[in-house]
Symmetry: C2
Subunit: 204 residues, 2 copies
Amino acid sequence: MAAFALFGNRESGHSYKVSLMLALAGIVHDYTEIDLAQPRAERPEPFRTLAKYGEVPLLLDDGTPYVQSNAILLHLAEHGGVFGGESMERLARAREWLFWEANRIGFSLPNLRYGLRIAPGGLAPAVEALLRGRCDADIARLDAEFSDGRAFILGGLPSIADLSLCGYMFWPEQAGVILPPRINAWLGRISALPGWRHPYAMHT
Amino acid sequence: MAAFALFGNRESGHSYKVSLMLALAGIVHDYTEIDLAQPRAERPEPFRTLAKYGEVPLLLDDGTPYVQSNAILLHLAEHGGVFGGESMERLARAREWLFWEANRIGFSLPNLRYGLRIAPGGLAPAVEALLRGRCDADIARLDAEFSDGRAFILGGLPSIADLSLCGYMFWPEQAGVILPPRINAWLGRISALPGWRHPYAMHT
């Protein structure tokens, strides 16, 4: 089995996606917490050199670095793990959701949360309105996906699309967001998967 | 050869990425211009039903729909075309840039351009400051990539990473952006590839 080493941060939903996949797969791995308050140039090696965009998560797979949470999910799905053995068709559909996530809810929700919770001085009203408008639209789009009663994004079985989309969704109150019932039911199904942990319980 | 049908819009850099890949590959395809001023529910079929997020581009490959510009680039790279035959290693690296693009410069630059050029009422100053700050950081990150003198993002040969990242870059003046010399030189190399066209000359 490959040796995996993950560099993440407990407040990052992008890290959480990868941690969750490794947890669901029961893959033993090294974990290093990166202090995001530290300036990028002062972060420890090998993170500083290998994290191409200076961001968590970074996954080393037998020493080869992989960055961008959704690209890491695709790498793990293609090379085994809990969602290994996916068909090309399911991977193609998952990929569409991963790119949607990167541009839509993986932008709006984390930036809203960051602005309300962490950013010095908080958010300018016009910026908060922009982020909340996008976040509301993104949640409505995702909610509509469950109108046919399916259990997970791609059907009856979970996929990396679910792991990507739920990255920041176990902290709705931190972004001042109220999730609709179908989204909460979907999150309930994710959290019932064997090996699931809440982001704050992931590396304790 | 597969029958390709593309649904796009001439003002969309996301459409342009896919048009450019088809042009560089010399792949004959049907093209349908979608009027983005039309409400989503009134757009023509089969676009309305098959464009999963209601957005351009939509590519039909022998009738199977593919959405999300970067997912379409990956699909085309994996199934032939001008960048067919890429190694797994190059595809993995391209994928990281595609996700970076979706979350970073594929958000900041188009939204800045849209806000300055098209949005009713223009941009609130705080929103413009947010978008311009991100856009400047994104361009600086991309510019740094060329500090080692390489020709294209992944080395000496172009890849789908170049096509994704250049999607909105042939319109810098429309976003009030001045591109640094190394980025302009890279765009010059892209525009020298046989089959290249400017976005506004793509479907004329």
